[in-house]
């Protein structure tokens, strides 16, 4: 009898191309890769932030030199992007936690043509829109603080 063994084939595997396709499966797919891209971006920012703040132990001059990097137009734009991505990642993350707990999924239904997934309902889509709206509001608030210095 032929033994059953795990075979690592590349069949049906689209890799990064399939992962990044935003047009398949609607808004849930957009939210799927936006959550991952913002996560990777925020991890890179976090590593940079830990390195940046470590200059505090080298004295006032080192701290001010490091700080000057963020006190430019590009530095401000980068920080505004951090504010937006972190807000989206947090709010959408809460939606995902609630979804995994079974909240907002709706009742199971018979799969009828044209096979709209019942799990991607108005509540789920609202969650994605709330995350995007709050990210935009946070970016506006951050822009105001960064530009006014208050």
């Amino acid at each position: 009898m032929k033994s059953l063994e795990f075979k690592n084939t590349r069949e049906n595997r689209e890799g990064l191309r399939g992962w990044l396709d935003p047009f398949r499966y609607g808004w849930e797919r957009f939210s799927y890769w936006a959550q991952r891209l913002t996560g990777i971006f925020l991890l890179i920012y976090f590593i940079g932030h830990v390195y940046e703040t470590s200059s505090i132990v080298s004295g006032k001059d080192a701290w001010n030199t490091m700080l000057e990097l963020t006190q430019t137009t590009w530095g401000h734009l980068f920080l505004i992007l951090v504010i937006g991505t972190s807000t989206f990642h947090s709010v959408n993350g809460i939606r995902l936690i609630l979804t995994e707990a079974g909240k907002g999924l709706g009742k199971p239904s018979r799969p009828d043509y044209p096979y709209h997934p019942s799990s991607l309902n108005r509540r789920q889509r609202s969650g994605i829109w709330i995350a995007l709206t709050l990210a935009a509001v946070a970016m506006l608030y951050g822009t105001n603080i960064l530009l006014s210095g208050d």
Binding site: N8, G39, F46, T53, I56, S90
Partner: protein, 108 residues
């Protein structure tokens, strides 16, 4: 995924506190050397910073691990990704902890 959710929700609260510390004074003066050092000298705030460091490092590197495991599967890849992300996570926590300890005044 449980560790990912717990660290994510936990980080949300301590990061909110961290941002509040920047907003209770005008933004420009919140980044002045003297004010930031005084923040580090506050023991409770230093503990909050350490918890941000640990929670986000665990959340971030575990998230990266999940993404990489979704893209490709094989025993070598999965073990390699897990070990590499754990090493990177520990290195970042150690580096950040060094900053917090020295800035808190223990190492000065």
């Amino acid at each position: 995924m449980k560790i990912h959710y717990i660290t994510g929700v936990g980080a949300l609260f301590v990061v909110a506190l961290h941002i509040l510390m920047r907003l209770v004074v005008p933004y420009a003066s919140s980044l002045e050397y003297g004010y930031v050092v005084s923040n580090y000298h506050n023991f409770l705030y230093a503990v909050a910073l350490e918890s941000i460091l640990v929670l986000i490092a665990v959340h971030g590197f575990n998230g990266l691990r999940i993404i990489l495991l979704e893209l490709r599967q094989s025993p070598l890849w999965e073990n390699g990704v897990t070990v590499a992300t754990i090493i990177a996570m520990i290195a970042l926590i150690l580096y950040g902890t060094r900053t917090i300890i020295i800035a808190n005044g223990i190492g000065l």
